[in-house]
Symmetry: C2
Subunit: 717 residues, 2 copies
């Protein structure tokens, strides 16, 4: 059942939204180049052209036959022409099939179908065995809210325990746990109150709301998939729209919706113009109603606001990382894609604080030899695909910005593959320059391929000093680090002194902005100005905030370099942020772990989840071979000894056939089954190989514990 | 530092609020008898009387002296009288001191002071070492919101891991994980939308909100504590108000506030009448604004609405338990008591579903011999104190309603004491009849004594079928269980058939309520009516919903018993609910674990948390004795081997003295410290005994793992 589903367009996602927020804070306005996606269209384009050409030939042949008929041609002549026409039609059908397959990104046997059938099989099993349950189901549920049922809850708890072991414990991180309810001021500082929005349109008659980009996207995809007669030019246009979708302004989106005549999907009523809708759940803290709060959209802010205390806790030393696992909330306009886009989800986030002048990592050597699929910017822009790279080479070639970022990429790779993510369906995709906020140094997403396409599951971003600066500005509390020098250093400092009196005379009300612009000059710019003022007496100077150029004269500013003794360096640390969408990782893990195999009798297909013991919801089932008090007693005893050893287990004492009981347990992904077939020794069976070994009753717990915890492997146990 | 703080009044609490909700759904209107508290007043009353008597004597003596003076008595006579008066005043002071001590519930040395000083010492240490941090501190925080800093977060995570092991794994529970965002319909069914309120008053000029009961309580306590001249009658009145505080209606509260002339504490402005304020954080789900949602006030509802699926998952068998750990939210009007009353907190809840006709428990024998402090209803009503009882005796004497409830009480006792709660400061208090909702069969709170008094930390309630019925009614989905009979059973069924025509003629618009009342009759009542109708032809019948008695005639209803064959029994299971306030348990654990001891030089008091290794935030610290590369290398190696063994540890390679480093680590409650004082073997020191043993470098990880995980104890290791 393993199959690969290259999807030209990755779906909108948790990280994309965050990105959008961050991106919207940036000054970059370039279009998103889903350049790799565009390359996949080459075949499709030529097929569309071939199809159009074939259609012309068919039309021409049709005309020719009609002419033959009206000209009274012979029957054999006409039959010959009709036969030729039919052959042409067959060829057309074949091109159509190829085109359909090309659009859906699979082979000519219709992979959209197989992809959706596969997903349906997984989801059916997950829902039937209560891995998840649509929340509040008896009240017909709420879109975008899901419960983890017993096995799902156990998987989640295993994934989080491993996350804690792999990151918090092994990397000596400072874990914190902050509330979900967050006062407005914090999210105002972070930018979420103003910018954490999606564009929405309303059905003008019923008031039903839709995400504007979803409607446009659906329209374009639908056209591309179903309208095979679409010209290659029109197809190219629609694809361009899809590629730049995330970057369209409200006006641009509205214009496209009008141009394509898109109406409300349910009623066909006209739609309003798009307008921003904030995705945070809003509430009120305390009884007075005057204190606005939000349910946090990410856990990171709780860490940033605690920077000062955490830095102190770490002995005022950098680097250090803080981590947080917790719920986050996004009031999606219209949640889609089942478990991938939800209104409440668990995030696990790390904020690694580091000196911006030294982003080396002491444990870098432990990951530099890892090799895995990476998809750097250049490969995306030039339409190539992801490549297996050695991480150390990516750093030394400057593809990955720094060692610390690379170290986390490596650790994330190890984390995901140890959970059971198929490493051939995992890639690290670098953000294109216009996907990143202006302050970000470099960003990589761990993307996992699922039946929905490539899904962003972990974002690993070097966010520079942005977040700490934002909270420093808003709170007035300096979130900074100090480096004490062993002995005082003499440093040359640039001193820019605007002469306010002269500037005031010259620029009146704009004086303040000119002063600020002068003071903000970097060293090179300032020294160039100094030289120009000395030679020419005046210089043209662009003031961004005024959106114009002004003339600065010699008497308006003094620029110099002065020597100072400094005892320490005070700076805002950079933040490297790996952020994990736990629910998405788990869903992808379900897809990667699921397979079907024929029953022993060969009369049905049985479902199996090949979870590694680390994440399996239950490590071991225990069955008596037959219903018999002695065997049941032994089963109980084994179950107790497993529980005491901390191994989750389940007894199945129903009288069902042993094959059926194996099938039930395979469907929950239980790796080991103990069958009690004597009172002294029992059979342990491994799920995937179905291999069996015999072990004495006393040894069962120890053996299962060893293989479950990876101390010994099944092959050698 | 261990001391006991008997407080006559337990503070309002998480469980009290829940209770209030549940209680307010009940029809019982009796007053809350904080009967035990009332008994503590005996001494206080006699002291107040003695004080008043002494004051009269003093007044009389004063008068006598004045008379002596005006009558021109001799100096020696007057001196004698003044001396006697001074002696009386001294006696009065002594009574005042006794009274103060009695009010504050301590000894005559002023235990309020020591209690608060103790709390301050704990809280200072907790805050300085970042066990917790007031949330959003750099923005001056939000009342009732706290972060767990690194050691607090580790303690919490250890407590939750142990909870999972002790309950979910060992009891084979079905764990679920539901969202916090909850649609209105669910909380409408549960009663929270209508009844989950506190009474609030507003400062009529500034609009500042206060909890009405808090103001009244503060007023009464203040009077009682500070006004020593209060008459015993007035004191008794104020104490009665405190005792019935939770049961006062808005009108009664308002009347008392008026009567006592209570004004806004900050401004002394007049206050509004009390009115209910719903404690749920409200929000809106989706963009349309029409779908109201709330942040859940408890996790239990998520389990109830999933009953049908969970019952199926359990093979349609009872009993079974579902469990959930998660955040819950209560928008307190004015949070007080630091970490005990917060606006967002972690709950761990169990819903054990059981056949109401069979509440035995298969593992009951494992707990029946446990003995611990229990505080049954009768002892509270008769003013006695909590008693050490054998759980099995409490069940057999009918004090605890059933085996399953008792089983959970026993398991909770084991859970809390293994965490490190002092068993002498833990009691199980039974709810008084009027504290419980009408449907509840029995309720017990695990109360832990802290510097705030006895704190309800776990509620263990037999809630009968209430919750499942409420959701069945609201959703129309039957949340029921079936018991299939081995062979069909013949049962006699009561059949009540109201004759609607006759009833309509007789009662017109009230017909429907009469019909419903007739149909709702229990067997005995119906058979009595049948007999009366047959002999007398008519009978008086009380219709509660009409609040009057009507006359039912023979032709208005037919009552009979019919025999039916039944193949199964369909019933609504009872729910036994242990509900854990995790934050409260952790706070009490901090207080019970904290002590101070003199430093080696005897010049300062050092703080220690005596956490058991199970909950200690870090299990082991590793220090090189001196700063030396060889020792640091060994320390690193030991730290790595500890991490690989899953033992959380911290290196301290600062050059600080070994004593200071021990002190630092004791203050975090780290149970073991490894000092590297050679390259081949090291010293391991235990925190509380300060005993040291020598272990080879290779063995360190295994030894620490064994003592940390309780496989061997320090004493014998």
């Amino acid at each position: 059942m393993r199959s690969s589903y290259p999807s030209p367009l990755s779906p909108p996602s948790l990280h994309r939204i965050l990105l959008r927020l961050r991106h919207s804070l940036s000054t970059t306005t370039a279009t998103t180049a889903a350049a790799a996606a565009a390359m996949a269209t080459t075949t499709e384009d030529s097929l569309r052209q071939a199809l159009a050409a074939k259609q012309s030939t068919i039309d021409a042949s049709g005309n020719a036959i009609r002419q033959l008929k009206s000209a009274g041609a012979s029957k054999s002549e006409i039959d010959e022409a009709v036969k030729a026409l039919n052959a042409l039609k067959l060829e057309k059908t074949s091109i159509e099939n190829q085109l359909k397959a090309s659009i859906s990104g699979g082979d000519a046997n219709g992979s959209v179908v197989s992809r959706e059938a596969f997903r349906q099989a997984v989801v059916n099993t997950l829902e039937r065995r209560l891995f998840y349950i649509p929340s509040f189901k008896i009240y017909r549920g709420v879109a975008g809210l899901y419960d983890y049922g017993p096995p799902g809850c156990a998987v989640k708890s295993n994934v989080l325990a491993f996350w804690r072991q792999h990151f918090v414990l092994e990397e000596d991180m400072l874990e914190v746990d902050c509330p979900c309810v967050t006062p407005e001021v914090v999210l105002k500082a972070s930018g979420h109150v103003d910018k954490f929005t999606d564009l929405m349109v309303k059905d003008e008659k019923t008031g039903t709301c839709y995400r504007a980009d979803h409607l446009l996207k659906d329209h374009c995809k639908d056209k591309l998939e179903k309208d095979l007669a679409l010209s290659a030019e029109k197809a190219a246009e629609l694809k361009h729209v899809l590629a730049v979708l995330d970057d369209l302004s409200a006006e641009q989106l509205g214009a496209k919706i009008k141009e394509y005549g898109i109406t409300a999907p349910d009623t066909k009523n006209p739609l309003s113009d798009p307008y921003p809708f904030n995705l945070m759940f809003q509430t009120s803290i305390g009884p007075s109603g005057v204190s606005t709060g939000y349910m946090r959209p990410e856990t990171a802010q709780g860490i940033f606001v605690n920077f000062r205390d955490l830095y102190y806790y770490n002995g005022n030393k950098l680097p250090f990382a803080a981590a947080q696992i917790g719920q986050a909330f996004r009031n999606e306009i219209s949640p889609r894609q089942g478990l991938l886009r939800v209104r409440e989800f668990t995030l696990a986030e790390i904020e690694h604080f580091v000196d911006p002048d030294d982003k080396s990592h002491p444990k870098y050597s432990e990951v530099e030899n890892l090799k895995f699929l990476m998809f750097p910017r250049d490969e995306q822009m030039s339409g190539q695909s992801a490549k297996r790279l050695r991480l150390g080479d990516a750093v030394s070639k400057g593809i990955v910005n720094n060692q610390t970022l690379a170290y986390f990429i490596g650790r994330v790779y190890l984390f995901l593959t140890r959970l059971g993510i198929n490493e051939e369906r995992l890639r690290f995709r670098q953000h294109l320059p216009n996907e990143m906020a202006h302050y970000a140094a470099d960003c990589w997403d761990a993307e996992i391929e699922s039946s929905y396409g490539w899904i962003e599951c972990v974002g690993i971003a070097d966010r520079s000093a942005y977040d700490l600066r934002a909270h420093t500005d808003k709170s007035g509390i300096a979130l900074v680090a100090q480096e004490k020098f062993a002995e005082p250093k003499e440093v040359e400092k640039l001193v820019i002194t605007p002469v306010k009196k002269e500037l005031g005379l010259a620029f009146k009300g704009s004086q303040k902005m000119v002063v600020e612009a002068l003071e903000a000059m970097k060293e090179k710019e300032a020294m160039d100005m100094k030289a120009a003022l000395e030679t020419k007496g005046e210089v043209e100077f662009e003031v961004c905030t005024l959106q114009k150029t002004v003339t600065i004269k010699k008497n308006m500013v003094s620029i110099s370099k002065e020597k100072k003794k400094e005892h320490q360096r005070v700076f805002t640390p950079s933040v490297i942020e790996p952020s994990f969408g736990i629910g998405r990782i788990i869903y992808c893990l379900y897809e990667h772990s699921f397979y079907m195999r024929p029953s022993k009798a060969g009369d049905e297909q049985l479902n199996v989840f090949r979870f590694p013991p680390l994440v399996a919801p239950i490590k071991c089932t225990v069955f008596p071979l037959v219903q018999n008090q002695q065997y049941e007693e032994v089963a109980k005893q084994i179950s107790r000894s497993l529980t005491a050893a901390g191994i989750s287990n389940k007894k199945d004492i129903t009288g069902t056939s042993i094959g059926k009981r194996y099938a039930r347990t395979d469907e929950l992904g239980v790796p080991f089954a103990v069958t009690v077939d004597s009172t002294s020794s029992v059979t342990i069976r491994e799920r995937d190989s179905k291999d069996q070994i015999r072990v004495s009753v006393e040894e069962v717990a120890a053996v299962v514990k060893d293989v479950s915890e990876g101390r010994s492997t099944w092959a050698i146990s």
